[in-house]
Symmetry: C2
Subunit: 233 residues, 2 copies
């Protein structure tokens, strides 16, 4: 009775275009045929091709731009971020569950980062931790540095899937971060958070996976507690 994914001209076009990308082994940046050509080849109206393009663009599989032809896109976490946000807003996922996943993958990330980070990356991570400390009185800036810190760690893991995943959680984290920050009411608890980040950075820079994991673990214990204190289910 259900067929949503495969029936309909648009779904057919999506499939045909995806196949085209695979078969021609197109790489990010490569151009796709124009809407007019595709609509002729697939025997459908331009409307159908356009809706197929939009669908693929929504998943960041292709990239659209006015005047230019569509191109194959680089993977990007934007779409995943929206999906996760949607899941949270519709009560299908809660914040604690996201934190469990983040803890799991970020623990692995710091292990890999400790082993694989370049010196430049180590410096960047250290610097981001320092910037966090400096922007202690500006929550918005602090949050951005915090997010950038975790993103940099993911990148240093040299596994793009981890970067993708960390990026996917960023959207919803932006919305919950202030809650956690506010619930750290004492100066001591705020300091602790900043110090923990510095500790993580130092351990990664020192190529000490065990210490890095321990610090990251502490960070999550503390974060989860902060969110629970704030009453976040």
């Amino acid at each position: 009775m259900e067929n949503a994914g495969t029936s309909g001209l648009v779904s057919g076009a999506i499939g045909a275009i995806s196949r085209h990308i695979r078969e021609k082994e197109l790489m990010p940046g490569d151009k796709l045929p124009s809407e007019a050509i595709l609509s002729k080849e697939l025997n459908v109206s331009r409307t159908v091709v356009r809706e197929a393009f939009r669908s693929l663009a929504a998943m960041r599989i292709i990239e659209l731009a006015t005047g230019k032809r569509a191109t194959v896109a680089q993977i990007d976490h934007g779409a995943m971020s929206l999906m996760i946000e949607h899941g949270v807003h519709t009560d299908q996922i809660n914040i604690q569950q996201i934190y469990d996943v983040r803890r799991t993958i970020e623990t692995r990330i710091v292990t890999l980062a400790s082993i694989r980070r370049s010196d430049t990356e180590a410096a960047e991570i250290l610097d981001l931790a320092a910037q966090m400390r400096r922007s202690m009185d500006d929550p918005a800036a602090l949050m951005e540095h915090d997010l950038a810190f975790h993103t940099a760690l993911a990148r240093a893991s040299r596994n793009p899937v981890y970067s993708l995943l960390i990026g996917a959680f960023q959207g919803i984290t932006r919305q919950t971060w202030p809650i956690g920050w506010k619930s750290r009411s004492t100066q001591a608890s705020r300091d602790l958070m900043l110090v923990t980040h510095v500790e993580i950075a130092r351990a990664v820079a020192a190529s000490d996976p065990q210490k890095a994991v321990a610090a990251m673990s502490l960070h999550f214990d503390e974060s989860v507690r902060a969110l629970l204190t704030a009453g976040l289910s």
Copy 2:
């Protein structure tokens, strides 16, 4: 110089519709306004609303069906699966990287599953492992049971984000699984794989997280080795 995500009438419509869902606190299954109404409210043509709907449907944020109005959708791994496949086909992600992520999260999954699984779930997981054994001579069926096994474990973890992630890797796994199976050329290596699954199932059923993690770890060691043997970068 870049603005792809926020400019254009369609992006505006996507934003407006997303906001509508959040502000009205719509839950999965709830209906959205019709295309005609939305196009009037947003002062854009029906074309624009339709393309916005398609985009949201591609991310499985909403669900479309002919004749009926669009509804808010349940989270679904379909879109993520396509994104991952795209990443692999365009050489932005390789299989080993995916296996590293899977190992990381599946290790956590069996820990949670061991603690939280219901008796029904335990029985199901045990049964799936048994079915794998029985379909040893039918690779297609074996693969499906294998995938179902890991999906069932994720579900038993009681964290929908893990289910989502496991689902997201399923598409690409379907394409690489046969490679791994073929590279297990000896009867002994094939038996090992089946036995390992049974071990995981038994450990979860026995609520023994440590044993479950050990077995899962072994499973991934073995899988990664099989793929490396097959020459998969």
